[in-house]
Amino acid sequence: MSYEIPNNVDLDTDPQLKRALATWQPQYLEWWREAGPQNYDTSRIYLRTAVGITAEGWAHYDYVRMPEYRWGIFLAPPVKRKIGFGDHPDEEPWQQVPGEYRKELRRVIVTQGDTEPASVEQNHHLATTAPSLYDLRNLFQLEVEEGRHLWAMAYLLHRYFGRDGREEADELLFRRSGDADHPRILHAFNAPVRDWVDYYCFGMFADRDGKYQLAALAESALDPLSRTTRFMLTEEAFHMFVGETGIQRIVRRTAEVMRQSGRSDVFELGAIPLEIVQKYVNNWYSESLDLFGSEDSSNAAAYFAAGLKGRYQESALATDHRALDGVYEMKMPGGGEEQIPLRRAMNALLRDAYVQDCTRGLKRWNKELEERGVEYRLALPDIAFNRKVGLYAGLTCTPEGKLISAEEYEQGRKLWLVTEDERARVAALMKPVFEPGKFAGWIAPPPRGVNNQPLDYRYVQFA
């Protein structure tokens, strides 16, 4: 079996792991057939496959049928490092799971692992309405990589957590996004991704949360977890690229249509109005902020203390890596602030780095508008807006962060979040475009193709 699984973890010489994966792999393929992109199993897709960890190795392009994709197990090359934060600073990183942190590590890995297959499930039906072969190919690329990330987490569970880990790896394949009986663990990963605007927003905001979670785990004292997530980060960048440039291309297209027509309600002209894009942003940004967990979290403190999850780029931060002193000041809408001991505020700190990153993305979108002489600007809603998790949960405030009554909020929802009517109008635009080099009318073509191929390259060869 192992000859089919590209890896750099000596799979051949590890009987325990071989046994585990021998039963897990068929289940995984079954999951893929059930939950993955349907009806494209026999199509040949121009995909990037990671076959090694060198620069050439992880960007190997070729036509592949997705079920034959070589999902591999890769750890970034070992680097000389010490545990960089928490209660064990400057100790050697762990090569095995310490018993005292088993439960915390298991929870962190299961929670992260659960998100990977979820997005494949959420995108299940999108292929049938892809705006171009380029976008369809990127969707598939993203899905096989989410699948590989699932492999990465399943590997850790199999390799380091015994029978319990194997069962958890099975459960990762059993839960289903949005399932009435067995939903995924985190809310945003059960939210339906109903159209391509959802999908791009998901890539921009939810996958970006993934980047920050992985970055925090890349600092981990458990070396295999650190190495796994470092390698995953290289792939995650592409997911965010898809999301961010997807919305950027929508915005560009809308701006062009607005300029040409002189109108802002561009639905009738086959484009997506900027107000609608803003509503999608409001929805997915707030949903993704919830993924960071509560701003004041004893779990986060425990993970930091144990050295399991650091801050963003912890080892590069010129700061006190024990974080025992100091407080995080959390601004509350309507004035006032909550003081949170630093270690308990690790989720909030990670989120702050994320918010800055999102802000940069927004700037690039707005530049498209500026360059095309459109006055409208997209904005991130206030971090307290529409929250269901953490200290802002249940507060009712406007996207600008102004506290309002529950009644006012109920009334405002239709102004701030996508309504069913608007979704229906977006859905009406979602017609597939499968002719090489052609793009749907609601989205602009990208500046360049994949792997320096031309835009009219046949990225997907239908069977």
């Binding site: 209660d87 839960r175 009435a180 009986d181 004893s298 203390a305 001991p341 308990r344």
Partner: protein, 542 residues
Amino acid sequence: MDEISFETHPSRYRHLKFEAGADRAQLTLKVEETGGLRPNYLLKLNSYDLSVDIELADAVNRLRFEHPGVSVVTITGAIDGIFCAGANIFMLASSGHGFKVNFCKFTNETRLAIEEASAESGQRYVAALNGTTSGGGYELALACDEILLVDDRRSVVSLPELPFLGVLPGTGGLTRMVDKRKVRRDLADVFSTLAEGVRGERAVKWGLVDALLARSRFNELLEKRINELVACAEPGRAGRSGVVLDALEPSSTEDEIRYRHLTLKLDRRRRLAELLVAGPERVEPIPEHSTALSADWYPLRLFREIDDALLRLRFNYPEIGVVLVRSSGDLRRVLELERAVYERRNDYFVKETLLLIKRALKRMDLTAKSFFTLVEPDSCFGGFLFELALASDRCYMSTGRAAQIATGLLNRGALPMGNGLSRLRTRFLGQPDYADRLASERVYNAEEAFEAGLVTAIPDELDWEGEIRLAVDERLSLSPDGLTGMEANLRFPGPETMETKIFARLSAWQNWIFQRPNAVGPRGALKLYGQPERPEFDWART
């Protein structure tokens, strides 16, 4: 802290939704985060403090008196994905030792009341775990007859106290798991150290829950099961009318809490309290429809008052060391009432009243104060009221004119202790036949009572005041911890039951662990839970 009141009413609940129908009831936990007793913690994730448990205790009691038609009570949670996270850790970590112990004791008593309601009153409890259930939440479930867990591949049951906090489940969880549910000890061992808990099929297989309910059909499957259980109730039960429990609303001053039939006097300087019981003013026959007696019925009202006073003594007056139990009234009238109660003991309302008396007396058995009963010339300790003397650590009886006590048929077994025995049988552990012979109606003067072994000492009239004062002062000078331990050892001879085990383990182990630096020292696990630092243990096993 303000004095705690144990009186509440469903209309004032903040944490519990109380819905009672003709044949079934539902208690839904929706704990108000900011509704705790003290402001320095938030009751997140349906975690509880005493304020939640006071409502639960009230609900369980009211269901028995006010809704006797109910045969199935469902306890569930109103937060998505969470049933109950157990006792609030920040509340525990910021509470003094005495409060923690009393809190655990009270929650235990409520869990036992649930089990008693099932065994004696035909109200079966179903724990419908709609989400993750940990610690005290699972212990609450363990007190129910059936545990049904949502099957969503996420929700677990767990007892994470040891791995997370370095302490034990404080509400009988370990004992109930192996004693009541008969979970295998090695599996129980794994479960009790597995912070993340057990879910799904394994939870069923290990005997931790009875069945799984699919998430999408949770309510439907639950209702089906409730219907099945309701169908098992005795015919004619549904819709039976009960008795509304009115508020006790005692009037209180600095040194006195005055109820209708009971006065609690407090001498804080001496650390001495007095429970003064007033006998019944008249005895009416128990009517055909006994509920016509209403909550005004003397024995019910009196023992509700005693129960309330005991709880106040425990929580609000921790420094009171000795409680004198006195009574005044017509002993003959008490015996008349005793006979009437005994004759109608199988009537639903009379039986519920007896069960309430039983619980109040058990509350006294478990109260960490020294109780001395004083039998004086106008005392009326007869039959069920004589149980107060039997529950006391000592009983002094005056030889003065007309001081009398009386035994009655209710002393035979209608009001058993936690060990399952009557107080007389426990008192004369080696002579069960003698104990049963005593348990019939008879009036004793001091010499007769002393001879029969029913009282501790009979100082004569001239010595009375001096002897009592000396005995009390001497008692008050002893170590309170030593006394608590001694009394707990001496009060419960005889067989072990699940109940005695729960309290004994709580006193011996949990209270020990609660005191140890590994839990509550500056680097202890309980102290540091949720804090940025990790605990440091003294690794020596004791």
